[in-house]
């Protein structure tokens, strides 16, 4: 609960229509895509302008009340998990595409605009927005900025941070400032993107638009097992080819996708690989022939090529549906998001198989094979006592495996509330303390999405005494300091 006085002030900012206090309606917002962490926010606000967001944040700051920003709530690490003692700022009413500027290859949008809507707005000009998380139809660009979202095509095109040119930011103290790649000085924009709502709320975003490639081919290759698929991936990379995407699914993931969307992948495949090439037509033709040959050399037993959008969509259907599809073959599941150096994939996959056998827990594997980003889906029956805990244990040990091979605990889903406890395995205390110097600069009161990313908040205190002049001995040049 928060003080009634604050709720009144918030209502004055957003209007009664923009404030939710009814307990039943508040429950709608109790979790994001990570459904096993839940908290009912004290209030929800639905601002319609950047100025309203700033006023809400100022009110929170004055009252010392924490606030959490939320877009579509599709995040998978609990980054938008509300605080029971705080305000949830929902950006769903900030959903205007403010301008599309083909001559500048950029668009200006509000944070509640969906990822796909940007591409739809740009399409008439032969342009698109490159980062494409699987949830792109519903996830918002504001959430993408907070999480530095990736997607299947980031192997070639990079992540959100590589495609955002500027952000209008409401700081945790309620000021409106622009972080802009064109500005000289520190790259605060680069540091802000991926900060998971802990450095403020983006209220306008200028994104870079990319010209649609001249040619695209999508290849579906079926392999007897994951090992031979992995060999094909290594061969493609070693040949100096950078595909737009290389995705792999193992037999269990294929089974799930088949049950859910009847994607019609080749029967009997132990693994399928989706390789998408795009770029100048002459280049794509040459590289495609090479990739086909390399897949055959790695024992691919069936190859399908899609050169038109409908066939391409058919190939991608199974992959895009993979997470949700697992619901067809298991009552419950955990989605993991670990990263390993690509060359360590075979060892790590063997390690996951061993974990699966040891715990008696099924694991379906879907991964961005080109960049070593694994999404193991750990299956369990939530009706069975202890099954959830076992699945959690497998999921956590998969991360340990990733770290043991020099990888990361998250490639694109973020740390959020889910993985804060794993951060000390990847970073030392000095690393985490230094990162939080940035937090202290933006949010000394620690009110912006507290409890996320960092297992232990750093107390910021006042800025230590800033000296006004050189040390007198140095100034006089007399000191023999060494």
């Amino acid at each position: 609960m928060i003080a009634a006085g604050l709720a009144d002030r918030l209502a004055a900012i957003t209007g009664p229509d923009g404030l939710i206090t009814d307990p039943v309606r508040l429950r709608t917002y109790e979790c994001d895509g990570l459904t096993y962490h839940r908290a009912t926010p004290a209030v929800v606000v639905l601002p319609e302008t950047a100025e309203q967001v700033a006023a809400v944040v100022r009110a929170c700051h004055r009252a010392g009340v924490p606030f959490v920003a939320r877009g579509a709530g599709t995040g998978l690490s609990g980054g938008a998990l509300p605080r029971a003692d705080g305000v949830l700022v929902v950006t769903s009413r900030l959903r205007r595409v403010l301008s599309v500027e083909p001559e500048n290859r950029r668009a200006v949008v509000e944070p509640g605009v969906t990822n796909l809507a940007i591409t739809e707005a740009a399409a008439p000009y032969g342009l698109y927005y490159a980062p494409d998380p699987s949830s792109r139809q519903v996830c918002t660009i504001g959430g993408n900025v907070a999480e530095n979202s990736g997607g299947a095509h980031c192997l070639k095109y990079g992540f959100t941070v590589n495609h955002v040119l500027a952000v209008e930011l409401v700081t945790p103290e309620g000021e409106i400032v622009w972080l802009d790649t064109m500005d000289p000085g520190y790259d605060l924009l680069g540091a802000f993107i991926g900060s998971e709502g802990t450095l403020g709320i983006a209220t306008k975003i200028i994104v870079r638009l990319t010209p649609e490639p001249e040619a695209v081919t999508t290849l579906l290759a079926a392999f007897p097992d994951v090992e031979s698929g992995g060999r094909a991936v290594s061969a493609v990379i070693a040949a100096g080819i950078v595909p737009a995407a290389i995705e792999m699914m193992d037999a269990l993931a294929i089974e799930a996708a088949e049950a859910a969307v009847r994607c019609g992948y080749p029967a009997g495949a132990g693994a399928v690989l989706i390789v998408e090439l795009d770029g100048p037509a002459a280049q794509v033709v040459a590289e495609h022939e090479r990739v086909v040959a390399l897949c055959r050399e790695s024992d691919a037993f069936e190859l399908r090529v899609a050169e038109d959008p409908a066939l391409r969509a058919a190939i991608w259907r199974g992959r895009r549906a993979a997470f949700a599809a697992v619901g067809r073959i298991s009552p419950a599941y955990l989605v993991q998001d670990g990263v390993v150096p690509r060359t360590a994939l075979p060892e790590v996959l063997a390690g996951i198989e061993a974990l699966s056998a040891r715990y008696g827990v099924r694991v379906a594997n879907v991964f961005h094979a080109g960049d070593g980003n694994l999404h193991p889906l750990v299956l369990f029956d939530d009706g069975e006592p202890g099954a959830g805990a076992r699945a959690e244990a497998v999921s956590a040990e998969i991360l340990d495996l990733c770290l043991a091979h020099g990888g990361s605990i998250t490639g694109e889903h973020g740390v959020g509330v889910d993985k804060a406890r794993h951060m000390p395995k990847m970073f030392g205390a000095a690393d985490l303390d230094t990162m939080q110097l940035l937090r202290c600069a933006f949010d000394p009161a620690g009110l912006a999405n507290p409890g996320k990313i960092f297992p232990t908040p750093r107390l910021c205190g006042e800025v230590p005494g800033v000296r006004r002049a050189p040390h007198p001995l140095v100034a006089s040049g007399e000191a023999e300091l060494f």
């Binding site: 990736g150 064109m182 998250t410 940035l438 000296r467």
Partner: protein, 421 residues
């Protein structure tokens, strides 16, 4: 703590060689009192702890290729020379990743990576630059159109703060969103937040082929449309503009790299008109800033390149202004001769900034002769100036890292470049 001097002016501090600074070490006219040469991240930390204990102002230096850019340091007691941090620590060719110490020259790194048919796709505008200097200076070159700049290629970093704290962020996998990205923050920080000790980069395969398409026209107004070149299905890696004088002949040079480079270059040659020609070698001026004692960087939205250059020409009056840079990214160097009187240079900078501001442009001064730099607002207006100062104060509360660079020294001048306009 000091060991006895082994030779005149040379000694070690916590095992790290230190010598007295001399005229050859001067940075924009300021001679450091000492020069330290740490050979490891641990030694960098030892040097910085020793400097902290003695209240010394520290300036990190790599190949000193661009160290004279920017204003003279306000204080420079200790130059931290990264020359002994010269090892490429790891090249995981199968993962397209390399980890290197900061003092490795970019050219040496390129030679190592080329052995495996790979490269760091980051062009260095000044010969002799090291990895650390390239990152701290935020340097980039023509191929930023295709590959982005250092911020887009750096995936992990180890830094040392003013108090000797060693901190890492990122890692050695390309895809990684765990924690804040200190690499972004330190890229372009000019040594003001701490010392970059190690860096990890994502790599690219060396392109299979390359071709240049160039076209020279007598008047900038006759240049082909830049938007069409940028969006060309031939997917150029770089589009560079060269204008020795704002009113004189203009050359556009386009680089095509990779598979089928010759075919794709032919597509561009047809698009660039009858004067365009295909060659295999870069023009002599490719990827270097134009000569001149005053160097500025024009950044505008891509569609504003032509109007911005016209407006700058009007602001320049009789001053000779050379222009060179990445036309489609819309980041271009402007150069004025070093002997332009400081007052005239300052008046030009003010007038040109006022002219590009309505177009959404920025015009920071990158380098100026020391006498002129003192009177110039080097950066110009910055949107998040207050936040930037707060970041500086948290990372370097005593204001000992590169004081006078990028930010005015803590508590120093008021109304400096970081005051919001």
């Amino acid at each position: 703590m000091a060991a006895p001097a082994s030779r005149e002016g040379e000694f070690t501090v916590d095992g790290v060689p230190v010598r007295a600074g001399g005229p050859a070490d001067a940075v924009a006219g300021v001679v450091p009192r000492w020069v330290a040469l740490p050979g490891s991240t641990t030694e960098v930390a030892a040097v910085l702890r020793a400097a902290a204990a003695r209240d010394l102002a520290v300036l990190p230096a790599g190949g000193r290729a661009t160290l004279h850019w920017g204003p003279p340091p306000e204080r420079c007691d200790l130059l931290l020379d990264t020359g002994r941090l010269d090892r490429v620590l790891e090249h995981a060719a199968g993962d397209l990743v390399a980890r290197t110490q900061a003092g490795v020259p970019m050219a040496a790194l390129a030679a190592t990576l080329a052995g495996a048919g790979q490269e760091l796709a980051l062009d260095v505008p000044v010969p002799g630059a090291t990895v650390g200097g390239t990152l701290a200076g935020g340097l980039a070159g023509p191929r930023r159109l295709r590959y982005g700049t250092a911020r887009d290629l750096l995936i992990g970093v180890t830094v040392v703060l003013a108090d000797g704290t060693v901190a890492r962020s990122g890692g050695k996998v390309v895809k990684n969103v765990a924690g804040y990205d200190l690499g972004k923050l330190f890229t372009g920080s000019h040594g003001t937040l701490g010392v970059i000790a190690e860096a990890t980069f994502r790599l690219h395969p060396l392109p299979a082929g390359r071709a240049f398409v160039t076209v020279t026209v007598p008047d900038p107004a006759a240049l082909p449309g830049l938007a069409a070149v940028a969006a060309s299905p031939a997917e150029p890696s770089a589009v560079e503009l060269e204008l020795p004088d704002l009113s004189g002949p203009a050359t556009l040079a386009v680089l095509v790299e990779g598979v089928a480079a010759a075919e794709r270059a032919e597509v561009l040659r047809r698009a660039l008109g009858p004067r365009a020609a295909i060659g295999t070698r870069a023009p002599a001026w490719w990827g270097r800033p134009p000569d001149g004692g005053h160097l500025l960087e024009l950044r505008v939205p891509p569609a504003a390149v032509r109007p911005a250059l016209a407006a700058i020409g009007a602001a320049a009056g009789d001053l000779p202004v050379a222009v060179r840079g990445s036309a489609c990214v819309a980041v271009l160097y402007l150069a004025l001769p070093g002997d332009v009187p400081p007052a005239a240079a300052a008046a030009f900078v003010a007038a040109a900034r006022a002219a590009v501001a309505p177009l959404g442009g920025r015009l920071p001064v990158v380098a100026a002769p020391p006498a002129a730099a003192a009177g110039l607002d080097m950066l110009g207006p910055v949107g998040a100036a207050a936040l930037m100062r707060r970041v500086k104060d948290r990372f370097d509360p005593e204001g000992r890292m590169a004081p006078g660079r990028l930010l005015p020294a803590a508590g120093g001048t008021t109304g400096g470049p970081w005051t919001p306009s």
